[in-house]
């Protein structure tokens, strides 16, 4: 084993959560297929115990970390489960004029700070760098995040969209993994060329 690059890019919590949820869904369909094959073989009397050639088994370790990480990232004290790929793209674009570093942007995306206190912790020397634009920034984050905003502002197209994302995520039924989700994943994960599309691509750029 050789580690070529221990930190080639940073990932946002949302990207990890999407990837893990996809793996989980994958695992479920696979284990269902496995059971079906088993049943068929049993019925035909051709079952060979401990022998399985058509389906890859998911390792115990992966299952453990997968379930636990989904539990953490999907918890209600993190904004991740209410986020969408479009929302994050919009957020990163909205953060551009504030001249934040990559790490600060990543943390803002991960934690979606909606109060000045939270922002103060993330951004160094917040007052000197942003001054009066601080409130403006928290307002924009709140708007894009679509978190339970104190005053419902219906002044943009993004507002209902974000809300939609929230409701679809907060419903953990089997339907939760709709086509919607997959589409978002595709865009986010594989479109490395689009710098603005994912936080990952954005963070690759050298910081000065």
């Amino acid at each position: 084993m050789e580690v070529v690059n221990p930190r080639s890019a940073l990932l946002s919590n949302y990207e990890v959560l999407t990837l893990l949820r996809e793996l989980e869904a994958d695992h479920l369909t696979r284990s269902k297929a496995m059971q079906r094959i088993k049943k068929e073989e049993e019925a035909n009397g051709t079952l060979v115990p401990g022998h399985n050639t058509t389906v890859v088994e998911t390792s115990e370790n992966l299952r453990t970390v997968e379930v636990e990480a989904i539990q953490y990232l999907g918890a209600d004290y993190l904004p991740t489960s209410g986020q969408t790929a479009e929302g994050i793209t919009k957020m990163v674009k909205a953060l551009e004029p504030y001249e934040l570093t990559k790490a600060e942007k990543l943390q803002i995306v991960n934690l979606a700070p909606t109060t000045p206190v939270e922002l103060y912790v993330i951004v160094e020397e917040l007052e000197d760098r942003l001054g009066d634009r601080m409130d403006e920034l928290t307002e924009r984050i709140q708007e894009i995040q679509g978190a339970p905003a104190p005053v419902p502002q219906v002044n943009g197209i993004e507002e209902p969209k974000a809300e939609e994302g929230v409701t679809s995520w907060s419903n953990p039924a089997a339907e939760g993994f709709g086509e919607d989700e997959d589409a978002a994943y595709d865009e986010e994960m594989f479109d490395d060329a689009g710098e603005g599309a994912g936080v990952e691509g954005d963070l690759d750029v050298e910081d000065d």
Binding site: M1, E2, V3, V4, N5, P6, R7, S8, A9, L10, L11, S12, N13, E15, V16, L19, L20, L23, H51, N52, T53, T54, V55, V56, E57, T58, S59, N61, L62, T64, V65, E66, E68, A69, Q71, Y72, A75, Y77, L78, A103, Q107, N110, L111, T114, T115, V117, E118, Y120, V121, I122, A147, P148, A149, P150, V151, E200
Partner: protein, 227 residues
Amino acid sequence: MFCLSIIKDKIPIHPQHFSISPEQTITAELNKKYSNRVLHDVGLCICVFDLSEVGEGKVRYGDGFLWYEVTFRMVVFRPFESEVVIARVKSSDEDGIRLTMDFFDDIYIPSIYLPQPSAFDPNERAHFWLPNSPLASTTELLDSPTSERMYIDQGEVMRVRVEQDEFVDDEPGPAKVVEGVVQEKTRGRAPYTVVCSIAEQGLGPVAWWNGAQVVEEGDEGEAMEEG
């Protein structure tokens, strides 16, 4: 919090899996080998992100396995220094607080990184902070009225700043034998620990600062915090 690491490795594939596409079996093998394990100086591996390069499968003398040389990207948990993360309190003792993130729970706040003045209350098994107090010694702090203390209870959601992380690579060593009986190995030090701090404005239990917000901004923040 998470990052991608590029790793190169040689992976054997058992002949019973030859009927499945190599991409699937290689990913499964890599996950089996790395998932939920700590790589020294890299971090805690979560899962394979993608395979970037896979060589030709080769059969070596001695076994029927196909050996693939693979370069792949791994999702790794490794918060960077000074990153702000959210975690819950797992337990507290005299030395500090232990936090958990469900999938990773070797996160510690030593007592020097607690907001001052603070002390450990052995009755409650929890640390508490006395904001704006002139008291300094532990005995004085423990005499303070309970209503003024701000406790950090178990299970509380905390916002913490990562100060440093440490990897240890303990050799397993020979099995211990006492009077001819092989002793069960005790769990050694954790291979990867993260040290965090809450000694700063805005850090600590999330509820502390949400409460402060309500006072500062009146009704504006209230609706949100209560939700």
